[in-house]
Symmetry: C2
Subunit: 155 residues, 2 copies
DNA sequence: GTGCAATGTCAAGTGCACTTGAGGTCAAGC
DNA sequence: GCTTGACCTCAAGTGCACTTGACATTGCAC
């Protein structure tokens, strides 16, 4: 039984178990999202808790966070030990709020589309999908509205 | 009253009314997402229906479609006239399915997080957020699971 | 008829999230 | 001892969705 299989993971093992390519793992480390120790020969060795961290990262990406934002999020979680209930609760509830907001965005969009089906979008002045854009004239360049309830990532 | 303000829009007007930069509009045209006619002097002139198309594009982006996918979607909508009820219905219902799938993904994630709060994530073998990743060992590199119900964009 | 903002093209640059390649090292197995 | 595969670093490349820059032209406003 090798050392890594006892309590530390080699990068290949971590990659296999997380589904994330070694190159990406090195990249995450470079960005400060994960950490590793090194063997005397210079190879990376990861704690098992890193797997949890990676699961976290992957989930965070699916709800639209950038790696930079994710790094900030991870600062709220312990890097080297299993988070306790209180630590989790803080982070998880903040995330749930974020997910809720995203779901609300999508529901809003869906109802707009429903309205469009109803109206047949025959009227430029009535279509909800169309008008939010058109009435944005003069709000300055690059204005994005309609969907993203763009509160800064607070978790 | 200028020609463009009568029934065609100059790129600056379209940009102001859509909130999308002129450079992006040219880029979209290059990709075949929108079309324009040209004045004798070579300037772009857009039909008003292009605004609707742009609203569509922006919405499609927020639900995660690439511009390539969006171009395919737009093929189902008339480029130059206001879509009729049947045309809209086809497209809009397909979109709603896609939105529903995305919402379901998020709900699934949310319930996983809820479970994590409950368990306090004190157990590596029990945490739902953690295990889907860890048990993926051997599924090949780059495997992504957990969230994306990855059906090809069919709308 | 002149000025100037808006627009045109084309090539190159940007930011993100990685991947790929070159060239070298480490370590388990025979 | 030697092979072989996993791993190392560093630089460069990739794909997407645009933006920026340089330089030329157009056309409305005075």
């Amino acid at each position: 039984m090798t050392l890594s299989s006892r309590d530390r993971l080699a990068i290949g093992e971590l990659s296999a178990r997380s589904g994330i390519a070694p190159s990406a793992l090195r990249y995450y480390e470079e960005l400060g999202l994960i950490r590793s120790e090194r063997t005397s020969g210079g190879r990376r060795r990861y704690r098992r808790a890193t797997l949890r961290r990676l699961a976290f990262i992957r989930v965070a990406q699916t709800i639209g966070l950038s790696l930079d934002e994710i790094r900030d999020c991870l600062a709220d979680l312990p890097a080297d030990h299993v988070p306790n209930a209180a630590e989790w609760e803080t982070v998880a509830t903040a995330w749930q709020r974020r997910i809720d907001a995203r779901i609300a965005d999508l529901e809003r969009l869906k109802s707009k589309l429903t309205g469009c089906v109803g109206c047949g979008c025959l009227s430029l002045t009535r279509c909800a999908l169309y008008n939010p854009a058109d009435t944005a004239a003069g709000r300055g360049p690059g204005a994005r509205f309609l969907l993203p309830s763009e509160d800064p990532p607070s978790v």
